[in-house]
Symmetry: C2
Subunit: 210 residues, 2 copies
DNA sequence: GTACAACACACTGTATACAACGCGGGAGTG
DNA sequence: CACTCCCGCGTTGTATACAGTGTGTTGTAC
């Protein structure tokens, strides 16, 4: 793994975990020294983070941790809706939908007997992975992966509302069921409904914390 | 404008215009010397081009002009469908749809009396711009803009099929009409239909030229 | 006291020099 | 004759030194 990759991962983790809050100015020499790399790979890492919309680079001014305003969140969820409803449609059309029957049973099992939050997030990650794999479109997969960073940053705020977690189980199960049934319209609608609820919850958390 | 921006624009133009065909290995020192910049801003430009999927960077091997295989094209058009159908929906829901009434009349005027190809491409560019502006979502806009590079590369092959041009006029007019009417479902369907035709034509051109 | 200008500092953008890795060619051995 | 190992070259990855620009502060003039 290159120095650039290391700097990228470290910075990404710090931004996602709010160790570097939005708006923070990222001084290149200080950061390079703290991360133990030179400025050259650090700048490459910053550019990659800018591509993921985790930092914003202003020419001549430097790099800043990107903001997470309310309108940013709304636009982010619109992007999710565009990509995830279409991905769900592709999955519903796919030949091999076995991964989703497996996920469906796991979600239903969870509804009956919840376990730790981390395991639930792992389950969701498994579903995202299954979607990317089944849709089998590198462009879509990369775009979806790019959104994960921003979403992870939001989740760090939403962690304190575990009540929301229970309701998402049903929504995810509904999505899996529609995909397993091969009903792409219902799958897209289920994704839209899930995202609408998720956005509402996220906005609530944001206005509470501000 | 920085050296990095200059190198990015020059390289992008050369790739789009097939001066650098897919698969070409981009030697850093030669390129830097030819473009009159140093390796540092050149590498930044290459990373930006990799983000636009115009070059593919293999760690330790260097940068190559990205391929345009048949499956790549199909995946690219799927991505277009995901983003453009959703953008069309947003436009159909928007308050100010005046830009599309103007575009609609221009497309209809064109159907009656065609003019030069370049002017038609300018018209399409105006429509893309109107979509981005009306959807008013930076994430969507940036993603759509990212696809333009690849599509421009494809258009350089498709230029030789002017017969296709005439039929796209009706398709674009149908999209504008649906947006003006505020019928988002019809708008999305019109976009899908247009993309399906466009993909079929592009694939034909690709298999003819190979 | 305030406003404008000039200077100094710090930071980003760029160039170049160095190091490490991978690849290819050639020679040697089985 | 073929296969393998090793050496040399070229290329990418990284570090550092330099230049240019923007900003902040301070001093002076009104």
């Amino acid at each position: 793994m290159s120095q650039s990759d290391r700097a990228h991962e470290l910075l990404r983790a710090e931004i996602v975990e709010w160790a570097l809050p939005p708006g923070t100015h990222l001084n290149e020499v200080q950061l390079a020294e703290r991360l133990g790399v030179s400025r050259t790979p650090l700048r490459a890492a910053l550019q990659r983070l800018a591509q993921e919309n985790l930092v914003r680079i202003t020419p001549g001014r430097g790099a800043f941790v990107s903001e997470l305003s309310l309108s940013d969140v709304r636009h982010l969820f619109q992007m999710r809706e565009a990509l995830e409803t279409y991905s769900a449609r592709l999955c519903a059309r796919a030949q091999d939908r076995g991964a989703f029957t497996s996920l469906l049973t796991d979600f239903l099992a969870w509804a009956g007997e919840p376990r730790s939050d981390d395991e639930y997030y792992a389950l969701i990650a498994r579903m995202d992975s299954a979607v990317r794999s089944t849709a089998s479109n590198p462009y879509l997969g990369e775009a979806l992966r790019g959104l994960q960073g921003q979403l992870a940053r939001l989740r760090h705020l939403a962690r304190r509302t575990p009540a929301r977690l229970a309701s998402t189980v049903d929504e995810h199960a509904a999505i899996c069921q529609a995909i397993v049934d091969g009903d792409e319209d219902r799958a897209a609608l289920a994704v839209s409904a899930h995202l609408e609820n998720s956005l509402r919850n996220t906005v609530n958390v944001l206005v509470m914390s501000s």
